[in-house]
Every structure is written in C-alpha cells, then in structure tokens.
Amino acid sequence: MSLEIDLEQRDRILIVRLKGELDHHTSDELKKQLESAIEEADIQHIILSLKNLQFMDSSGIGVILGRYKKISQKQGEMVVCSINPTIKRLFELSGLFKILKLKESEEDALHMLGVA
C-alpha cells in the first residue's frame, strides 16, 4: 500500500486526487509532482480530493502547508474535500482550516472556485 497521485487541471485549478497512504516516505513524490505542476502549468488554486486517502500523518501537513505558501503568493486558494474523520482531526489540530476551505465534494469545491 503506497500512494497513488492523480492530477487533473481545469483552467488554473489543479485537482489532486490521492489514493493510499500519505506519510514521510510517500510525501516526497507528492511534493515533486505538485511543485512541477504549480510552476509549469501556471496553477493558481488547488483542490485536494481525499476520498480514497486511507492514511495521512503530519508529513502530509508539511507538504500541504508548503504548497499553500506557493499558491497564496499568486492569490490562490486551497480547498479540501471528501475527508475522513481521523484526517480531519489532523487538519484541525494543525490549524489548517484557518487557511484552507473544507467542502463535501469536488463539485462543491469547483463551484466555490467559480467553475460551474
């Protein structure tokens, strides 16, 4: 059980779908892929779609905060959706909901960012 990363671009929004386990070991690859997408594809907003993410620890928080810093320099927003209870508590403990929005579904998240 490792991490599968699926990236989809819609306008300047990057939808990041994660499946499997996000820990220190798998976070490096995620960081690399997100960095090059943000640089090369001129991404402004990020939607983290975590329906199939079965595990995440604080290494995931680190990657998310790092990418948030990048897109907030471009006045971008970060939205997270379909999050399980334990991972939600990690986000709460870390104060992540002060800087990113929580939505039920990818659709809600896209809607919030102005995509119909």
Binding site: M1, S2, E21, D23, H24, H25, S27, K31, F55, D57, S58, S59, I61, G62, V63, L65, G66, N84, P85, T86, R89, L90, L93, S94
Partner: protein
C-alpha cells in the same frame, strides 16, 4: 519483560523510510483481535507513524544502517506502545513538544508530531537527552469489552 496474562511483541528494523508503513501495519495487525473502532485503529497507526518517522529523520538523520525499536503490550484495559531510537536525542524537550516547533523546516516538517501523539493517546512519556537516543512510551485505554484475557 515478563509476559504474564498479557500479549507482547517487539520489533526492530532498519531506519529506512519504506519501513514506516511496515511499522504501522505490524502494530495494527498485532492489536487487530481487540476489535477497536476504525477511528481508534487509525489513531494508533498515526502515532506509530509519527514516532517512527521522528526516529528515522531526527534521531538517525536517515542513516539506513541504524535500527528503530517498537514494542506493543496489550494488558488489562490498555495498549502500551514504545518507540525507541539510539540516535542524537533531544536537547530541549519542552520546546520540542510545542505545536509547530520543528528543527527541520527545510524538510517541510510541520512540527505537529508530538501534538498528534498527545492528542491521540491517553499518555505520552518521553525519555531523551543529547546523545542518549529517544524513547517514547504511549498508552491508550480501550473499552472494557475489549480487555485482553
């Protein structure tokens, strides 16, 4: 290391990041017959992951020739998990336990490891000192119908 009326396991492994998942799975499998809730199980996997990752990254600075030690004891109404390294140790523990404090921001560490352990477990005891390695002993109480017998 007596074993009376309890179930005990200990495990050690190379300080390689691919073994973080192994450590979580091993502990989860060892306690699987306790029938914990999905959330209790997730919490335990998370704290094991935090402590083991810290041993690898901070304790040993990712030297794969070093060994990380994990043990689990199920006894009465509690699960006790110990994660230990013989690495650099922590100089200032009070500071280290603060939320968001990290000595490795360049690795994008969030500084939330200790905070998560404290929130997900009933008690977290740390024994450490410069050059003395670090030992984290964590306890979680489980509901009486899950008592090990």
């Amino acid at each position: 290391m007596t074993n009376k009326g309890s179930n005990y396991m200990e495990l050690s492994f190379s300080a390689r990041s691919e073994n973080e998942a192994f450590a979580r799975v091993a502990v989860a499998s060892f306690i699987s017959h306790l029938d914990l809730t999905v959330e209790e199980m997730e919490e335990i996997k998370t704290v094991v992951s935090e402590a083991v990752t810290n041993a690898i990254i901070h304790g040993y600075e990712q030297d794969p020739e070093q060994m990380v030690y994990v043990s689990t004891r199920i006894e009465g109404e509690q699960i006790e998990i110990v994660v230990e390294d013989k690495g650099v140790g922590i100089e200032n523990l009070d500071e280290a336990r603060q939320p968001l404090f990290t000595t490795k921001p360049e690795l994008e560490r969030s500084g939330m490891g200790f905070t998560i352990m404290e929130n997900f477990m009933d008690s977290v005891e740390v024994t450490t000192g410069t050059g003395q390695g670090t030992r984290i002993r964590m306890i979680k109480k489980v509901s009486p119908n899950k008592i090990y017998s």
